[in-house]
């Protein structure tokens, strides 16, 4: 065996007041030369702590290594001094991170950020450093590296930034690359190219890669071996094919089972009058001032769509495609520049807040971030009854109704008086759904409502949404970037790109016979299609 | 503006370095006296304003026809000889030879006439004098003739006035400026020249020696006698902060400190290099002014009751401190001057709360609150106000003290409106002794229309004051003085709070200080 990195019985302790004692406990993992080891798990599984500890950049004030060893290049990294450790970092082991925007120093030219690593670890002169950096940038297939060398991070696209991160990590040809969810923040098309790039370089260099992810689709595409972690413990590890085909541990099975299929189920078409109808909605941001006119973004460009009761209409698209703008126009959190929004045949596009108020109950929304969707200073009960009581319901009636709804969304009614921080992310999203339902709306907008949730929780919330749609005969406008989720839940789909609708059709049509090239590219980019 | 380029800075720093090392020793050491004046010179027209600092500035650069000697009698200054006609109605003044303005022109009778006329429009004594003047003209280049409608006893006292407004002689072109507008040409004929371009209002005034000045041959005596400029340059630097000023004097950065707070005297005196002394023999007279128009002080007995509570020792101790710098004085004319007397002074000398209480009980005082304006930026007056407040409260008055700064007080004291509408009942001030040396002082007026703030009304008093200008002998004047004082006490015109002296402090290398109620800088040298 050719072990590059060997973690033996590593235990990292959390500060005394935390809700659990260990961040990771007795973790033993090894990465070999010339392989990609994927560490997979949901939030709180300890996968990132493991990666950061190996790199020696974990938060040393909060986390302490209490047991175990990390063997690398003949040293136990838990025992060597900081100065020696520093010589490894960047040179022998390198790391790339989830969010390339924040991981790059915003006030430093990217070229400088790459040459900096050469400056620390080598004796090369400035011109040599630059040519080596350019070479590294060419290696990650960055176009016009000379120009990008002198760019600042904000001047690059997300994919380019991640390529810069990779170039930076690989410029000294380290033996070990640690990748912490490197594609999670990227659009699906970009994700595909970055994954391909990592794989290719790994093969070319014969490098060992420790790849952290929560996405089994990514695992299926990239991993040689897989480690599954849960609550800081390794529950299973094996070759990728073995894990995917024959998962042993219940948790692994559950994770794999939760990945939605790309094949949409057959659905019968809905043939009732639409309750929400958007016609030629236009919305642009940025002011055209006297002095310049170039900062205007057309977030929605002649968008038309309609949703009927009992229908789930998906809006899919990558970031910046304008899908959220459409949702926020539909619920009139923002006012469209032009176009009409018919809710039960009343045009609300230009209504003032006072006129709008009585239509508020018809249309409700669930947001992406369950942590910010509830006022932390108010009990969940208060949040749920707020709407009905605004419309004159008595407190008693509202509370009774709220408790019923809590039961429907799968929460115990006796948690009515608790505060949001006492709930998990999935539970909070259920509360948000209950809050929306309390208004007895006919239209529900779910704006990336499951994107922030772990896959297991995601599946449950999706199921809940499906159930209440049926139960209350709701028209659902479902906004997502996740093609797998869209495939499973939507009846019809609108594909958006740069503010405009590029394709519309039934889910089945879209997934089986995409017409627009963009739709085709999107579908091809979804990871893990071999298995799921 | 100056160009601040590298070159200048480099040059400046080179120069600095050489100066610091002491390599460049000037061939001729200019004699400079650094002075901290008692106030900031805000205004350069001593006719336009009565501010003492402007008067002192006037003495630096201007000369006068007559000037007071140290016994307060007028002596010729610019005048060489003068004569009076038999009937006392025609006065002829002949100017000295060699009088020159700073621009080189000779001083002529025309200049004198124009200057006196402008002064006559602003100064109280001047206005009185001009009431009896029928003509004033330059009969020749160096002669001025003044004709009067009736004999007037104070001709020389007026044109030889020592304090504001002093009839300084300016060039005709300057003196023709409207009396209510400020002059902009600062050409005088005095021993020092004003350096206009070096003046930094609020901070620094620079005077240089005027080489063309010919001093009289008599020795200097107060404002009169030979004025010799013994230094090349006098720099007035105004210090807003007394402690800093004291430190600067002790550190040798300053030569002369005109009015240190009396309380700092012991600290300064403890320094062997510094002399602290009282320069002004008359000192200042504390003054508690009632508003005679408004209740409760529209009642003479209430005023007199209040005066009984005023114990001079307490005022002076609180405001001045060290007893060597004050003394009680129960005359309305400064003690130690010819007219000082003790007629009717029992009322002021009472100084007893109990007596005041008893006296107040006999009046119709109904508890109307007394509004005292307290000028918080003038420590002495601020202290006076607080002492009065406490005394009156103890004597049974209702008292409100309203804090303000002196400039607010000066504008508010002119209001005759009721208290609720901006009016007032009392304020405190002081007069320099020289300003209240005789009954002509506006402080003693009994005419509510032409008189001073507070507006007492007493025809008898006015009558007596009117006599004074006609009196010619000292006995006559003293008699009128006693009459005026008797009336002033009888009507409870104002409380007199005693006499106090502000010391001057200077480094021992300063010589030639002239004893006088006004600060003069001629004959002073720095060794």
């Amino acid at each position: 065996m050719n072990k590059l990195l060997e973690i033996k019985g590593l235990t990292v302790t959390l500060p005394s007041k935390s809700d659990r004692k260990y961040a990771i406990s007795d973790v033993s993992i090894s990465v070999e030369k010339n392989e990609i080891l994927c560490v997979v798990g949901e939030s709180g599984s300890g996968k990132s702590v493991t990666a950061f500890t190996v790199m020696g950049i974990h938060d040393k004030r909060a986390l302490t290594i209490s047991k175990g060893e990390i063997l690398f290049d003949g040293y136990d990294l838990t025992k060597i001094g900081e100065d020696q450790f520093r010589k490894f970092r960047g040179k022998k082991m390198a790391m790339i991170f989830q969010e390339p925007m924040t991981a790059l120093n915003p006030v430093m030219k990217v070229g400088e950020q790459i040459t900096e690593i050469l400056e620390i670890h080598t004796d090369l002169g400035p011109s040599k450093r630059k040519s080596k950096a350019i070479e590294a940038m060419e290696n990650v297939k960055l176009p016009d590296p000379e120009k990008i060398f002198h760019s600042y991070p904000h001047e690059l696209s997300g994919g380019q930034r991640q390529r810069i991160m990779i170039a930076m990590a690989l410029v000294l040809e380290p033996d070990l690359l640690i990748a912490d969810e490197p594609t999670t923040a990227l659009d699906v098309t970009t994700q595909a190219t970055i994954l391909e790039l990592i794989k290719e370089i790994q093969v070319r260099r014969g490098m060992g890669v420790l790849f952290i992810t929560h996405d089994f689709g990514v695992v299926a595409d990239i991993a040689d071996r897989v480690v599954v972690m849960q609550h800081g413990i390794v529950v299973e590890q094996d070759r990728v094919n073995q894990i995917l085909a024959h998962p042993q541990h219940e948790y692994t099975k559950m994770l794999i089972g939760s990945v939605p299929s790309m094949v949409p189920p057959q659905k019968k078409s809905i043939d009732v009058q639409a309750v929400l109808e958007l016609t030629e909605i236009n919305k642009s941001f940025g002011k055209s001032s006297l002095f310049r006119k170039d900062r205007i973004v057309n977030a929605a460009n002649k968008v038309s769509l309609k949703v009927a009761p009992g229908e789930t209409l998906g809006i899919v698209g990558e970031s910046g495609s304008g899908k959220s703008t459409v949702a926020r126009c539909a619920i009139r959190l923002i006012e469209p520049d032009s176009g009409s929004i018919l809710v039960k045949d009343i045009d609300i596009a230009k209504l003032r807040e006072s006129g709008l108020r009585y239509l508020r109950r018809e249309i409700q929304i669930v947001f992406q971030d369950p942590y910010r969707s509830l006022n932390p200073r108010r009990t969940v009960g208060q949040s749920i009854v707020e709407g009905p009581m605004n419309f004159g319901q008595t407190e008693e009636a509202a509370v009774r109704k709220a408790k019923e709804l809590m039961e429907i969304v799968g929460l115990k009614p006796d948690t009515f008086n608790r505060f949001p921080h006492q709930f998990s992310g999935g539970q909070r999203q259920r509360i948000c759904i209950a809050r929306a339902l309390a208004m007895e709306p006919s239209i529900l907008i779910a704006d990336e409502a499951v994107s922030a949730l772990d896959v297991s929780v995601q599946a449950q919330v999706l199921e809940l949404l499906e159930n209440i749609k049926k139960q209350f005969s709701l028209a659902v406008l479902f906004i997502t970037h996740d093609l797998r989720v869209a495939a499973q839940i939507c009846d019809n789909i609108v594909v958006m790109k740069k503010g405009a609708v590029v394709e519309f059709g039934s889910t089945h049509e879209i997934y089986t016979q995409p017409k627009h090239t963009y739709t085709q590219a999107l579908l091809q980019s979804a990871p893990g299609q071999k298995y799921f | 503006m100056r160009h601040w380029n590298i070159k200048t800075i480099t040059r400046a720093s080179c120069l600095a370095a050489s100066l610091a090392i002491g390599a460049a020793v000037p061939v001729y050491a200019e004699k400079v006296m650094n002075v901290i004046p008692h106030a900031d010179l805000k205004n350069l027209d001593p006719i336009w304003t009565t501010a003492y600092i402007s008067r002192n500035h006037g003495y630096m650069i201007y000369d006068t026809l007559f000037a007071m000697d140290d016994s307060f009698s007028p002596q010729p200054q610019m005048v060489d000889t003068w004569s009076t006609s038999e009937d006392g109605l025609t006065w002829t003044f002949v100017l000295r030879d060699g009088l020159k303005f700073h621009d080189g022109a000779s001083v002529t009778g025309e200049d004198v006439v124009a200057s006196l006329q402008r002064w006559g429009k602003r100064d109280g004594m001047g206005q009185q004098l001009f009431k009896v003047i029928t003509s004033l003209e330059a009969s020749s280049a160096n002669t001025v003739t003044m004709k009067l409608s009736q004999p007037y006893g104070l001709v020389l006292e007026s044109i030889g006035k020592i304090s504001s407004n002093v009839p300084f002689i300016m060039p005709k072109r300057v003196a023709e400026t409207d009396a209510f507008e400020q002059i902009t040409d600062y050409t005088g004929s005095g021993p020092f020249k004003f350096e206009s371009d070096q003046w930094v209002p609020g901070s620094k005034v620079v005077y240089t020696k005027f080489d063309g000045y010919v001093p009289r041959s008599e020795p200097a005596s107060a404002a009169s006698g030979g004025k010799k400029a013994l230094v090349d340059k006098i720099v007035w630097q105004y210090f807003p902060d007394n402690t800093t000023a004291m430190n600067a004097l002790m550190a040798g950065e300053i030569d002369y400190f005109e009015s240190p707070a009396p309380d700092l005297a012991p600290l300064l005196a403890a320094d062997p290099n510094i002399t602290v002394e009282v320069n002004d023999p008359l000192g200042n007279i504390g003054f508690a002014r009632f508003n005679h128009l408004l209740p409760p002080f529209d009642d003479v007995e209430v005023r007199r009751a209040a005066m009984m509570a005023m114990k001079q020792e307490d005022y002076l101790a609180a405001a001045i401190g060290d007893p060597q710098f004050w003394k009680t004085c129960y005359s309305v004319f400064p003690c130690g001057t010819p007219l000082a007397n003790d007629v009717g002074s029992d009322i002021m000398a009472t100084g007893s709360i109990d007596a005041a209480k008893a006296a107040l009980a006999k009046t119709d005082y109904d508890g109307t609150p007394v509004l005292i304006m307290q000028p918080t930026d003038v420590p002495v007056l601020s202290a006076f106000s607080l002492v009065t407040a406490e005394k009156l409260r103890n004597a049974g008055f209702e008292v409100n003290v309203e804090a303000m700064d002196w400039s607010t007080l000066t504008s508010r004291r002119a209001l005759r409106d009721p208290v609720g509408e901006g009016g007032w009942n009392m304020f405190h001030t002081w007069w320099i002794g020289a300003d209240v040396i005789d009954p002509m002082a506006i402080a003693f007026s009994g005419d509510p229309d032409a008189g001073w703030f507070g507006w007492p009304t007493d025809a008898e008093l006015e009558e007596a004051r009117g006599q004074f200008s006609k009196a010619t002998s000292l006995e006559e004047k003293q008699e009128i003085g006693r009459k005026v004082q008797e009336r002033l006490w009888a009507i409870g015109a104002s409380g007199e709070l005693g006499q106090f002296f502000t010391p001057v402090a200077y480094r021992n290398n300063v010589k030639g200080l002239i004893k006088s109620p006004v600060q003069f800088f001629w004959n002073m040298s720095v060794e």
Binding site: A103 | S13, F180, T408, R412
Partner: protein
């Protein structure tokens, strides 16, 4: 950038107008009457009225404001009531000491405070941090004038190594006398500024040290010093520079006191004396001038952001 500069410069106009109106109303609606002050002790009511007329104080208030603003637009700040000197000339005369005192203070404060704040941030929670922070808090707790007196007492009166007071222009007297006279006022004025800057630096650096790119820098193998110097400070620069700008107002306030204590003939004392003497044209002109300086400096600082942060583009 150029367009932005013009635009921002234009935006200062309403701000300055607000200031002008506010100051004007404040002066006109207050009870003091400069005419009475000028007229002096012996003036009659007619004299005062006459002076009011001369000063234009008897005009309707709207007319007064209009004529003042009209004159301002022509660069005429008016003429001092007492000294009859144009306000612009008085400002010119007094500008140098104030400008140099403020500059010395800013330079000195930045030199002291930024390293202090950075060290405190880097060692957040340690004794070093606590000492620096205690000093900073302390700097906010002592009145400026008390500090001035103490410094004079110790350095000038007891040790006799520095002059008590005054200002020596470097262009006239050279650098060394200038600096000798500047040391104590600068120290006095700097304390509060250092306190402010050190706190802000600390807070900004702490915030920056939490950022992802610091972690990236660690992953690259950079030493902590290099991380601090290259990555943290440059990113913390914008808030620090902002505070330098906001502190200008604080500085102007401090200048008034410091100039009084050290007898420096600067703008601070000019305005204080003017207020006490009711010299309206000076008060109006100077408050306006200070506001203009403040607004322009902050505009300059906004433009400087582009230098520190390439993301900011105008």
């Amino acid at each position: 950038m150029f367009v932005y500069t013009i635009k921002r410069a234009l935006m200062t106009i309403p701000v300055i107008l607000v200031v002008a109106l506010f100051v004007f109303l404040l002066l006109r609606l207050s009870p003091g009457d400069p005419a009475a002050v000028i007229a002096g002790d012996y003036a009659t009511a007619e004299d005062v009225a006459r002076i009011r007329e001369k000063l234009g104080l008897s005009e309707p208030i709207v007319v007064q404001f209009a004529s003042w603003v009209g004159a301002l637009l022509q660069g005429d700040f008016g003429t001092s009531i007492f000294s009859s000197k144009p306000v612009t000339e008085l400002i010119k005369q007094r500008l140098e000491p104030t400008l140099l005192l403020a500059s010395c203070t800013i330079i000195f404060s930045v030199i002291v405070a930024v390293p202090l704040g950075t060290i405190a941030a880097f060692k957040a929670g340690s004794w070093t941090d606590r000492t620096v922070m205690l000093f900073s808090v302390g700097g906010f707790s002592v009145p400026v004038f008390v500090l001035g007196y103490i410094l004079i007492y110790v350095f000038s009166m007891n040790l006799r190594i520095l002059p008590v007071q005054g200002y020596k222009s470097p262009f006239e007297f050279g650098m060394i006398p200038f600096l000798r006279h500047m040391i104590l006022p600068t120290l006095t004025l700097s304390v509060i500024y250092i306190a402010l800057l050190a706190r802000m630096t600390r807070a900004s650096v702490i915030e920056v040290l939490e950022e992802d790119y610091i972690r990236t820098a660690r992953a690259k193998g950079l030493s902590e010093t290099k991380i601090l110097m290259r990555h943290a400070l440059r990113n913390a620069a914008v808030p620090i520079v902002t505070v330098i700008g906001l502190g200008i107002a604080l500085l102007i306030g401090g200048v008034v006191v410091t100039e009084s204590v050290y007898n420096i003939p600067g703008l601070g004392r000019l305005v204080l004396d003017a207020v006490l003497a009711r010299d309206y044209p000076i008060i109006q002109g100077l408050i306006l001038f200070f506001s203009l300086v403040y607004v322009l400096l902050n505009l300059l600082i906004d433009l400087a952001y582009t230098f520190f942060d390439p993301r900011i583009k105008y």
